[in-house]
């Protein structure tokens, strides 16, 4: 890749970056995408809501995803304190399936699709710095990880889809940790785990193809409202993850535990999870971890750049909203960039529209996910505006999931608003179960 100039540089080839590159290429722009890794590469975040389909339809990639035959799930099973509940997306008008995907494969399909659409995709290339001295023509400096040679390319806009690396926000000093929400996550993989189906009965792994699974989420009793577990059956293995307060993991480490030993200890301790894993085999050395991951970028767009996906902000993955927000931001950033090209004199307006919509959406996600969280005034207003802008069915879905844990007080604070018909939030379309049968 020796191009010196293009229309848009996309940093990162996860779902947000690949879709942004696809949408922009479809609109006729010359797009170069830099990806540090060589796909397929492992990634966490395997549970997808049915909302992904409209973004994939728009990109023209849905048929490729359908052909892959990912695990179709029937909904969610949540154990939180003394309540066991289940929810299905079909109850909210979604006719297409929600999925459990191996992210190495899913992300590779999206990245290959971007290349097939016409974007120039460069893997094993790390962006080192972006020069914004000329705001109308940022220059992206990069290093090829294979031979350590360097290069640079000038463009009109940079889309930062670099995930938790947040290349631009870190460079500009606009990336801030969500103080007070210092989580850590540990996750690993198992063979032959049982799983919960709708109705609350556990089935052996080999039944996965004929009895669809649910995503299982349970609180971790010794971490208050904070810690929780995910259990996500994939096609040939099961992903299990723990979300813990950073302090709890630090204390475990101080007591001599490794990440792996602590992960395995919790897996045999947590009610229901231990029953699902009783006859499962752990994939040796599959534990990965990340600390301090709730953060936000205080500026989501500026002259010459747009932040999308996790580079814009990352919350707590409890409601599987991460990929959706990534795809939404990819779509809206591509829209905004297209309009900035067409009407450069109104660029600031399109950047502001993008930032405002995405900030509101991130705040709604934050209010649904973080325990004991309270939005500030400005953020509350944006989040309220975003909630009012959702359909009745989506509001009912938000109201339902918010009541399946005890963490969403802030969401109820947000919806105390004259513009909202509160009766829409009294729907509780989850089913309460007496017990889960393992």
């Amino acid at each position: 890749m020796d191009k010196a100039l293009c229309d848009v540089v996309v940093i990162g080839g996860g779902p947000a970056g690949s879709l942004a590159a696809t949408y922009l290429t479809q609109k006729g722009y010359d797009v170069v995408l830099f990806e540090r890794a060589k796909h397929p590469r492992p990634h966490v975040g395997e549970s997808l809501l049915p909302h992904v389909w409209r973004y994939c339809d728009e990109a023209g990639v849905s048929a490729k995803i359908e052909a892959e035959g990912f695990t179709e799930k029937a909904g969610g099973t949540v154990v939180w304190k003394d309540m066991i509940s289940q929810v299905g997306f079909k109850d909210f008008g979604h006719t297409r399936p929600s999925l459990h995907v191996e992210r190495d494969r899913f992300d590779h399909i999206l990245l290959s699709h971007a290349a097939e659409t016409g974007a120039t995709v460069c893997e094993e290339v790390a962006v080192t710095q972006i020069d914004f001295h000329d705001e109308t023509q940022p220059v992206v400096h990069y290093r090829r990880l294979t031979d350590r040679t360097t290069g640079s390319i000038a463009c009109r806009f940079v889309v930062d889809a670099s995930g938790q690396n947040s290349v631009i926000a870190k460079q500009l000093g606009t990336r801030v940790l969500d103080e007070g929400f210092r989580f850590a996550s540990l996750w690993g993989y198992f063979d032959n785990s049982k799983y919960f189906a709708p109705g609350g009965r556990a089935y052996p792994f080999e039944r996965l193809r004929d009895i669809p699974p649910t995503t299982f989420v349970t609180w971790i009793p010794d971490s208050g409202d904070w810690g929780w577990v995910w259990h996500i059956p994939l096609r040939d293995k099961t992903s299990v993850g723990l979300i813990l307060p950073v302090d709890q993991l630090k204390a475990a480490k101080a007591a001599g535990e490794t990440w792996e030993s602590y992960f395995l200890k919790k897996c045999v301790e947590i009610p229901y999870l231990k029953a699902l894993l009783a006859e499962a085999t752990y994939h040796e050395k599959s534990v990965t971890g990340v600390q301090d991951y709730s953060y936000r970028s205080t500026q989501l767009a500026g002259p010459g750049y747009f932040l999308v996906g996790d580079a814009a902000g990352f919350i707590d993955p409890i409601f599987s909203a991460g990929v959706i927000i990534g795809m939404y931001s990819a779509y809206t950033a591509a829209w905004a960039i297209d309009h900035c090209f067409k009407k450069p004199e109104r660029s600031a307006n399109y950047q502001a529209l993008y930032s405002k919509q995405l900030e509101g959406r991130l705040e709604v996600a934050r209010s649904l996910a973080l325990p004991g969280y309270r939005s500030g005034n400005h953020a509350s207003e944006l989040a309220r505006a975003m909630v009012t802008f959702e359909s009745k069915t989506e509001k009912e879905l938000m109201a339902t999931v918010s009541q399946m844990t005890t963490r969403a007080d802030n969401f109820f604070y947000l919806i105390e608003d004259d513009r909202l018909d509160e009766t829409q939030f009294h729907e509780r379309r989850y089913r309460v179960l007496e017990t889960l049968t393992t």
Binding site: R54, Y331, W335, H339, E345, A352, K356, T393
Partner: protein
């Protein structure tokens, strides 16, 4: 004169209705909307559709939609969108 004086409320509403029916409801069979249909509440205009609608409004009516104008009150129904358009200023050149 509103929006360069080109469109009355009813004319604007008719063009907006045509766009929504053709571009946003194309997958829905027998979709029937009128000027008071709740566009957002019923999911006719969703999180993607709102951007397509804004693009259409700017293009078709030569107006600039400000970020602060993208609120429920202005997009609740076709009548609300038409009112926004007929009171909007032309896009700054």
């Amino acid at each position: 004169m509103n929006n360069n004086g080109h469109y009355s409320h009813d004319e604007a509403a008719a063009r907006i209705k045509q766009f929504i029916t053709k571009e946003l409801l194309y997958e829905v069979e027998n979709a029937a909307i009128d000027n008071d249909t709740k566009l957002i509440e019923q999911g006719v205009v969703d999180s993607m559709g709102i951007f397509r609608l804004i693009a259409f409004l700017e293009e078709a009516f030569g107006v600039g939609i400000e970020p602060d104008a993208v609120v429920l009150e202005n997009f609740e129904t076709i009548n609300a969108v038409a009112a926004l358009i007929t009171h909007s200023h032309p896009a700054q050149a």
